[in-house]
């Protein structure tokens, strides 16, 4: 009773993460998983939307530094994530709730593990603090 399980939305680049894995099996393990063609394609709007719709955390998985299929999409994503972390703080959304990892895992087996790690950290923070204290955050 009362156990809080954070909802994590995971965007992952298809070129670096899980492309050799069994999609169906991975999908069953990873809730709210959104494989995308390049992490650079993830717009700030998508991340804010995830929080608006009830995500407690957003994990972005991009390709390793220097290995983007489209030259620098992963670097673009990383800059965006840092900027968004600063935008989220005034709403009372701690920066730990948005994370980017640049690495590669063709089998996708690390994805559930990374989500678990993030989930554990967010569990300590608790659910997003709605309205109270920070009037702007209306979820």
């Amino acid at each position: 009773m009362g156990h809080y399980e954070p909802k994590i939305v995971c965007f992952s680049c298809k070129f670096g993460w899980g492309y050799l894995g069994d999609d169906a099996a991975l999908s069953r393990q990873i809730k709210n998983w959104i494989p995308i063609i390049c992490s650079g394609k993830i717009d700030s709007t998508h991340i804010l939307d995830a929080f608006k719709r009830g995500a407690d955390g957003v994990l972005v998985l991009g390709c390793p530094e220097g290995n983007c299929h489209y030259q620098d999409g992963n670097f673009e994503a990383r800059k965006r994530v840092y900027l968004l972390q600063k935008m989220l703080e005034p709403y009372g959304i701690e920066k730990e709730r948005l994370r980017i990892v640049l690495s590669t895992d063709p089998g996708g087996t690390q994805i559930p593990q990374l989500i678990k790690e993030m989930s554990d950290r967010i569990e300590k923070l608790g659910p997003l603090k709605k309205i109270k204290g920070k009037a702007a955050l209306v979820v």
């Binding site: 700030s44 939307d49 670097f75 840092y82």
Partner: protein
């Protein structure tokens, strides 16, 4: 003689700048008053709200409403005008997106009251008086409008037919909007009566922009002496042009001030601040993780800068008063 269409101009939580913008259409206003019957304009003419209450529903052809909704009085007037009007035009950044007062949504009502009535250094309030919606004095009940927890854009309180953004809207767009109503040549309901593209598209400095903008130092306009002819972003100065709707007539750019976003997001975009974040991140030309952090950390008050006029209608900050009360 056929009866002239009735028009109401009203301010809610506004500064008066939008009413000023109506006067700024100069002699065109003479044509307007010839063509319509002004039945309400609190800032300029002495009509009473009970005159409006006595009217039939839908009797007013157009209500031009500026300002945000922050208290129960604003809400009541907005609802009254909606009931009595065929068309409602949200006029100016506050009515369209919440405007600069919307940044107060980052602070609670309690903090605002504590500062204004207790903690600000210029306040002397030994009895600790706070305004109350109801108070009894000598057996009589006095009332004040209820101050809400949140600043709302007009469409979060009533249905809005058309939008005309700007802080304030420029005279040419005001004239266009009025002409469109008078000639019944209006676009589909819900349209913004301004161009669809981003400000960069019409910016006179656009031609000075290189194929790729790459900056590492981010500056604010007061920290540097800006070159009056080249693109602000190329100079590393934050300018919201890429994520802001065109139509303002580049009034700020012309006096060497970067765009601050009063025209709100471009057509089809819900959140101007998020789009600007995406655009800005792309032109920061540093790859090393620590350098990225250092560069981004130099921006003071990210949210205040990106959402100066639009926090109450942003993805995370929007709230609908129609649903909550």
């Amino acid at each position: 003689m056929a009866e002239k269409p009735k028009v109401a101009i009203c301010w809610l939580g506004g500064c008066g700048g939008c009413d000023e913008a109506v006067v700024d259409i100069n002699e065109v206003i003479l044509r307007v008053v010839d063509a319509v019957d002004l039945i309400l304009w609190p800032v300029a003419l002495d009509f009473k709200y009970h005159h409006i209450e006595a009217m039939k529903d839908g009797e007013i052809a157009l209500s031009v409403i500026n300002g945000h909704v922050r208290n129960s009085d604003h809400k009541e007037i907005a609802e009254l005008l909606r009931r009595k009007s065929q068309l409602v035009l949200a006029f100016g950044a506050c009515a369209c997106f919440g405007g600069t007062p919307g940044l107060a949504n980052l602070t609670t009502k309690e903090d605002i009251f504590n500062w204004v009535y207790r903690d600000a250094p210029t306040v002397v309030n030994p009895k600790g008086n706070h305004p109350q919606p109801k108070v009894s004095v000598d057996g009589k009940e006095l009332t004040l409008p209820e101050f809400y927890e949140h600043v709302y854009a007009l469409n979060q309180v009533i249905d809005v037919d058309y939008y005309l953004p700007g802080c304030p809207p420029p005279p040419d767009l005001v004239v266009n909007a009025i002409t469109a109503v008078l000639e019944a040549k209006l676009p589909p309901k819900g349209s913004t009566l301004a161009p669809h593209k981003a400000l960069c598209d019409t910016c006179p400095r656009n031609k000075t922009k290189p194929a790729k903008i790459a900056i590492s130092d981010i500056k604010r306009i007061h920290e540097v002496e800006a070159d009056p002819n080249s693109c602000f972003l190329v100079q590393g100065i934050l300018c919201l042009g890429p994520a802001t709707r065109a139509g303002c007539g580049e009034a700020c750019i012309d006096i060497n001030i970067p765009c601050r976003g009063c025209f709100g997001p471009v057509e089809g975009v819900a959140d101007a601040g998020a789009k600007f974040a995406s655009a800005l991140a792309s032109i920061i030309d540093v790859e090393d993780e620590e350098e990225v952090k250092k560069s981004i950390d130099t921006i003071d008050d990210v949210i205040g800068y990106f959402y100066r006029f639009s926090l109450p209608s942003s993805i995370l900050g929007k709230k609908d008063l129609k649903k909550t009360i």
